[in-house]
């Protein structure tokens, strides 16, 4: 089972209301619907993925996340989920605040720019890092707001957002003892579960 599906089953309570931001073809949302009986919406911008997700019987709203979550009411969801999209939006801080406004809890994943491979790539080669986790050239990357575990936690502190869980995993979605204790150096992907304090 994929990590996001495992985490969803661990963190998301059955029959919750879930908003999945950047839901793609709806695989995770369909999984949560099947396993946990959640209700909710996926938000996506890619036309073909939307069609696939609609074909799964999901409720999908076409919307650019840069427009914010204005159409969703305060605390109208139990969980707001967003995988690998925070670094690609124009105002990640505003979107994060919107997520904890709309949902009781938010689950967010993003690539960690402070991973040792990224650090050494930049430090030794003097070039913007290109890797499996960050496969784009600097001029055509959608990742316009890359950050690190520490950056994200500083943002949460600044906005009184409470961190409930933190996970560090590698590109294959595996975590270990070392990543747990040195996430900013060893974690390729950051996973946070947060809420408004």
């Amino acid at each position: 089972m994929r990590l996001d599906q495992r985490l969803a089953e661990r963190w998301i309570k059955p029959n919750s209301r879930v908003l999945d931001l950047g839901c793609g073809d709806g695989e995770l949302l369909a999984h949560m619907q099947r396993k946990l009986g959640v209700r909710g919406y996926g938000v996506e911008i890619d036309p073909d993925k939307i069609t696939t997700a609609i074909g799964r019987g999901l409720s999908i709203i076409e919307q650019d996340l840069n427009q914010g979550l204005g159409r969703f009411a305060d605390q109208s969801f139990d969980f707001v989920v967003m995988a690998q999209a925070l670094q690609a939006v124009q105002a990640p801080d505003q979107l994060l605040l919107d997520m904890v406004r709309v949902g009781r809890e938010a689950i967010i994943t993003f690539p960690n720019f402070a991973h040792w491979k990224t650090r050494s790539y930049l430090g030794l080669r003097g070039k913007m890092p290109v890797s499996d986790a960050l496969p784009y050239m600097w001029y055509d990357t959608p990742n316009i707001h890359l950050c690190t575990f520490r950056d994200f936690e500083a943002l949460c502190t600044a906005h009184q957002i409470r961190i409930i869980n933190r996970l560090a995993v590698d590109g294959d979605q595996q975590g270990n003892f070392f990543m747990k204790h040195l996430p900013n150096l060893l974690g390729e992907v950051a996973i946070y579960r947060v809420s408004r304090t």
Partner: protein, 381 residues
């Protein structure tokens, strides 16, 4: 001509007569009424595969297929209804009708009023979207369809689909609202009023009794269609199609047709005026103006739609300025506020309001995906 393999083929309209009085929203009663309908595909044993198609302003019951081997003009939504098409007649039993007040065979202003023996003409009552939906529900009973798999419509047809979800929530499982709006804006009503005044001020209108004078308000209808047609197109699409091209290549310094766009509009208006009844046009535009399901629910669309239990697909087109995406989003947001099942797509298309009649792959694929019975629908809340 060979009929395309994915066409529903040669179809025959049929007339359904209802020998019962019909009390209309305006307070008047039709003593009896008739509906012209077409059906495609086969109703299954448990009558669970029926889809109702609601037509827009100038539409009718002929939504798909052809009338004979050499018929070059297929039904108005042939691009979406057929074998293997988005509304797949191999799976679904599709019903299409001409609404009352229409001029394609259903009871309307060109029919004889049984109470006077005269042509209805201007005496035909103003019918509303609600009236149409109630008539469609009576037709459903007649056809043995207790619950529609889906009610589908574009523009004015999308209004009927919305009204179905509000008035008969237990009678549909899916509702498809395409290029529509929860109610007309002042600008929308203004355009309709220009169209109506064009017809009403034509000397050949004769207070609506033109048929008894053996004529019809040709110029008024042409003008009405010209202004209406403009609202279906976009500046960009017209630029692509006509630009500033001149018919004869030079200025003629007169008021005859000079620019290609003038020629096109006049031709469209001409064709329309020959085939459409002026009183029906007036009635249809008023039905558009009156539509507002929130009116009976404290002006709240959210409250009105909260009655619905079906899943919605709302489709908008980026360049549609008649019923812009923001109008579709009013429907979407009301449904989201209620926590109801809704999917929304805003399809990038250059055709403006007219886009809903085109087989734009993305739109057609989403429609197909939404209508096919899927596993997820069993988990509906």
């Amino acid at each position: 001509m060979v009929i395309a393999a994915d066409s529903v083929g040669i179809v025959t309209p049929r007339r359904e007569c209802f020998e019962q009085p019909l009390l209309l929203e305006c307070g008047r009663t039709l003593p009896r009424f008739e509906l012209m309908i077409e059906t495609y595909g086969t109703l299954n044993a448990d009558a669970s595969n029926a889809i109702l198609i609601c037509h827009a302003l100038s539409g009718n019951h002929h939504a798909a297929g052809v009338y004979h081997d050499n018929d070059s003009k297929a039904g108005w939504w042939d691009s979406c209804i057929g074998r293997g098409k988005a509304i797949d007649t191999e799976h679904f039993f599709v019903v299409s009708l001409n609404n009352i007040g229409g001029c394609n065979g259903s009871t309307g202003p060109t029919c004889i009023n049984p109470e006077t023996g005269r042509i209805y003409g201007p005496d035909f009552p103003l019918v509303t979207v609600r009236d149409w939906v109630r008539v469609q529900a009576l037709l459903s009973d007649r056809l043995g369809v207790a619950v529609w798999h889906a009610v589908v419509g574009g523009s004015l047809g999308g209004m009927q689909a919305q009204q179905w979800a509000v008035d008969y929530p237990e009678r549909l499982r899916h509702c498809v609202v395409i290029a529509s709006t929860p109610k007309l804006s002042a600008q929308n009503i203004a355009f309709n009023e220009v169209a109506r005044q064009s017809i009403l001020s034509d000397p050949d209108f004769h207070g609506g009794r033109y048929l008894e004078h053996d004529t019809y308000p040709r110029r008024g209808l042409i003008l009405a269609r010209m202004v209406g047609h403009l609202t279906y197109l976009t500046d960009e699409a017209m630029k692509q199609k006509f630009g500033r091209d001149l018919k004869s290549g030079k200025f003629l310094y007169g008021y005859d047709v000079e620019f290609q766009v003038e020629s096109y509009l006049r031709y469209q208006g001409e064709q329309f005026s020959k085939n459409f009844d002026a009183n029906t046009y007036l009635i249809m535009t008023k039905a558009l103006d009156y539509f507002d399901p929130s009116r009976e629910y404290g002006e709240s669309l959210q409250t009105a739609l909260s009655r619905a239990t079906c899943r919605f697909l709302v489709v908008a087109f980026t360049t549609d300025w008649r019923f812009a995406p923001s109008r579709s989003e009013e429907i979407v947001d009301a449904l989201i506020a209620n926590g109801q099942h809704v999917s929304y797509i805003n399809v990038d298309a250059p055709q403006g309001h007219d886009a809903f009649l085109f087989p734009i792959p993305r739109y057609v694929n989403a429609l197909r995906a939404f209508l096919l019975p899927h596993e997820g629908s069993r988990h509906a809340s």
